[in-house]
Amino acid sequence: MKTAFIAAFLLLRAAPASAGDDMRHGAQAPVASAAAAAVDPDVMARAAADKLYNDSLYPQAASAYEDLLRSQPGDPYLLYNAGNAQFRVKRPGRALLYYARAWRLLPRNSDMRYNLDFALKSTGQSLVPEGVPPFLHRLYYSASDREIAALASLAFWALCLLGAGAALRPALKDRLLPAAGAAAGLLLFFGAWGAARLSAPLRNAAVVVQHEAVLRSGPNETFNAYATLPEGRVVRILDDSRDDFWEVGVQKEGIKGWITRDELERI
């Protein structure tokens, strides 16, 4: 039993932090209110970028959203709007990048899901893997990585507190132990869910953001180029230890190789 607790604790400690790192700033993002909107420069800049988009000045809107993202990288709605602007200027790579980042933060948002799927399909890819019923995919992605980690954390707290209560108050043991068992079940469920999501297609993945990326057989330009990847192609990162080249795998074609770092952006 004790071993299980320690394993659960270690699992939680190892829970993903990348999304959270991005979101940290977003947590402090201003909640729009009439009074705040009048003075908050971020809100005004956002409204200006939206106007550029509405006026069909897409390149300018894309640039404005990029500027905003530098200070608010974890705002999922801003990422989504930036993806829209990039899509309009026909930059499927950056559009996919922003949609994917937004969707990972808010997977239940139907607009983000729709646009990500749309952008993936427009580049010959798909959000829902072949053979997987869409409702199952929606269910699997009904919570973000961080929400799953939080639910696992709550289950862990409940398990520990109920277990401690049962140990300290034997008279309540009969009532507390079933509840602790349920908490342990939830902890296992959320832990398994989170662990399974570690291998999700958009996890540890990158997208080609240049016009065309050359896939080489080794990590420098003297190696043979044996494939080119179009902009917008999502690849899995296999080795990102180098500054100049990353080793990536292309699942659909079943190939792997090295691509210059400048041609990729991590999702």
């Binding site: 004790k2 604790f9 729009a32 000045l57 390149p59 607009d111 980690a149 939080a150 140990a167 080119t228």
Partner: protein, 621 residues
Amino acid sequence: MKLARAMLALSLLLAAAPVRAGLTVAASVDRHEVDIDGSVRLTVTVSGDTANVPEPEIPRLDAFNVYSSGRSQNISFINGRVSSSVAFTYILEPRYIGKAVIPPISVFTGSEKFMTRQIEIQVRGAARRPQPRAGAQQPPAQAPQPARPQGQRPSVPAGEKAEPIFITVEADKKSAYVNEQVTLSVKFFTSVPLTSNPQYVPPSLKGLLAEDLPPVRSGETEINGTRYFFNEIKSALFGLQDGQATIGEAKIIAQLQGAHTLDPMDPAFFQKFFSMSMGQGRTHEVTSKALPLRIIPLPEGAPEGFNGAVGDYIVAASVDRKELKAGEALTLSVSVSGKGHLNTITAPALPDTRAFRYYDTASSYSLTKHQDVVGGKKVFTTVMIPRAEGRQVIPPVKFSFFNPETKSYQTAETAPVEVNVLRGDPSAKAYSFVGGGGAGGDIKTISSDIRYLSRRMGMPVPSRLALALTQNPAHNALPLLLLLGALAYARLRDGLLSDPRRLRYRRAFAAAMKRRDEARRSAEAGDYPKAVGILYDSLPRYLSDKTGDDIESFTLKKTLDHIRRRFPGTGDFSLGEIRTLWEQLEFFHFSSSAITKENAADLVSKYAVLLEILEKEFDGK
């Protein structure tokens, strides 16, 4: 009102629904046999009952260099049904002699993939043609070259020996407005024979969009006394946003003939040149230098309704019929044609009029590249329903653009369009966009697009809570420590409860000391018999707790024997002290009149010392 709501809902559904229209895709070529120095025009026609047909995906063609030549689209609205046909044209320049194959070309709608048939092309050697004489002024070998500011000669410094193979990249402008065309010319020069047509790797572009400008031109020229054969590839570039844009390096990969040489002055130069087969030579790459390009922002003072269009355009409006009944639909087509990047042009705002109600707008465009200038025609088709009977006028539609030639904003407008609206049939049903012409039909998707912007900011509450809970995973150590502490406590407690004898043993000293304190208080209060009585009861109880037996019913001798047996490590001194105290307590207990204050205090003190000694000796058993 009900109709308007239904139409609005329908429009929203049309905008949101994915592409699932039926498509037909066909590919054709203008010839199945071509000379190595010729080209094949490939036309891929995509037709379907949707306004926005997807573009074909041209597979990698090793046997050809491929250039996009343009597109032409027809779109029609008939009784709410949309159909369109887009012809995409490509120029294919063969690279090798022999049989070449154009693999199936696919069109992906997002859910379905449509394929064309495979096409075979026979590439022959170069046809014999009149060759230029040595020393004569050389005209271009193919189509006449358009006027270029830099002239025909490449920039090789005089007196410097030119390389046998080299590449030049030139733009017709050093700066351009956002969305203004810049014509890029990439020229590949060779004075040595090649074993096949070279492979062209276009330059990477930063901040620019490109359109190919086929065909590839070729010709001959003389540089520093050396005669060169050259190929020229042109493309149109458009700046995406103001600032510094970059045209990256262009690359040519050519197969040079081994040790053999080919004299450009040889009358059979072209035959020899193009009849070289693959595998005879070595690969040689030449790369151009990157070229900076400054993109200038559009000037201030844009007119109302300006949407970023740059070029030189005219607009026209037409309707599909001049007379209709009330309740029937009318299709208004507004065309924008001229020079410029039509792909970026958005629909001009329709005039605000009470006479008509506007519904969904679809667009189609045809791209042309005459004289290396990108242009064409974009048609915005809008379904309208007149609100009233009689002669109704569609007011002029205005379209503003920036003309880079005159460096000014201009506004073009259509002529007003007049239609005659007759009395409608009262029994007729309202106009329907759906197939089948009746209520209850299926919604027909006419196009698909991404969803609109989000107006929300920051993170929703569940995400914030999740962030707060998981920001520091070390917090999870707190309940774990609590649980471990509780479990340790419970284990200790349960262990004692399960062994009452052990519990008595552990608690014996504390209980005895407590009784000693009580005796001391009684002695201090002057109640000496009570103090002695408490100690008299306490000593056997302490020994009973320690040994686990009922010492109170034992005699002194039996008690001492029992202690010796139970705790063999107990010293004679301790046993003697027990004996002495036991006897004193017994004496004073039964002779209470003999107890003095000093006796009582002495007994209390002795009892405490004895307990300390016994506790140590019993624990060290």
